[in-house]
Symmetry: C2
Subunit: 124 residues, 2 copies
DNA sequence: AAAACTAGGTTACTAAAAGTATACTAGTTG
DNA sequence: CAACTAGTATACTTTTAGTAACCTAGTTTT
């Protein structure tokens, strides 16, 4: 596949550079980040990688995210087709969230992010 | 390397699940996202991949980001040790930004994000 | 030589998103 | 019955993003 993000840069006589093809819309990186880069979104997807997880369990697994945040992110992820909500019991209402194929397709990126993140121990 | 993010889940007699080891702090994914996932940060790093780029050129390359945003992100990236600011000329002041080795180490993740993003054509 | 433009920002202000805390309904356990 | 769990909802505060105009200093256009 051709890299659609090539902005060419021209160097003038004084060694200064000029952009020739600027992006007139968010690039692929930026679009991708808006899908999986929002606060807690990557973590949510990653924590669903092995099996369906219940709402409150997911909240606890995330360390620091509030119920409201998890709720909002899950709704976005559902709309974006990355997660499916399933009611597994009605009285005691119980719900699980699991990844769709599309959601699963993002795991590779998140896995390399995790490895990178752990290998450069990042302070907060 | 051991996966530090394993939250084990126990299933009880009624088929309901409980988290045993919750994260008590942001996980590796979340920490990584806070370094490269902020709005415009990934794009900035990616656009510096080939050569040093000047401030206004970078702003134009990003499509939609304002100078203030680019300025703020660059300052953060500098503090985080991912980018270096270099004054290349004093009168006509000219500045370039380039990646450090650490900044460069994030390119692999961003490249797989780009490929993923382009292969699922994402709307806005 | 004045007018307009470029570079690299800064400032002041508004809008949107994140975060906190409390509450609710319905059921369950001690 | 009191306390607790699950899955939200609501109201409010704080933080972050975004817009627009401005500034200094040099450069090109007319």
């Amino acid at each position: 596949m051709v890299n659609k993000m090539k902005s060419s840069i021209k160097t003038d006589a004084k060694g200064r550079k000029k952009v020739l093809n600027m992006c007139d819309e968010p690039c692929a990186i930026e679009k991708g980040m808006r899908l999986i880069g929002g606060k807690w979104k990557g973590s949510i997807i990653y924590h669903l990688k092995d099996e369906p997880v219940r709402f409150n369990d997911l909240t606890r697994m995330l360390g620091g995210a509030t119920k409201k945040m998890v709720d909002q992110r899950l709704k976005e992820l559902e709309q974006e087709g990355m997660v499916i909500r399933k009611v597994i019991s009605h009285r005691p209402v119980a719900v699980t969230y699991e990844l769709t194929e599309f959601g699963r397709s993002a795991l590779e990126i998140l896995e390399s992010l995790r490895v990178w993140s752990e290998s450069h121990n990042i302070q907060i």
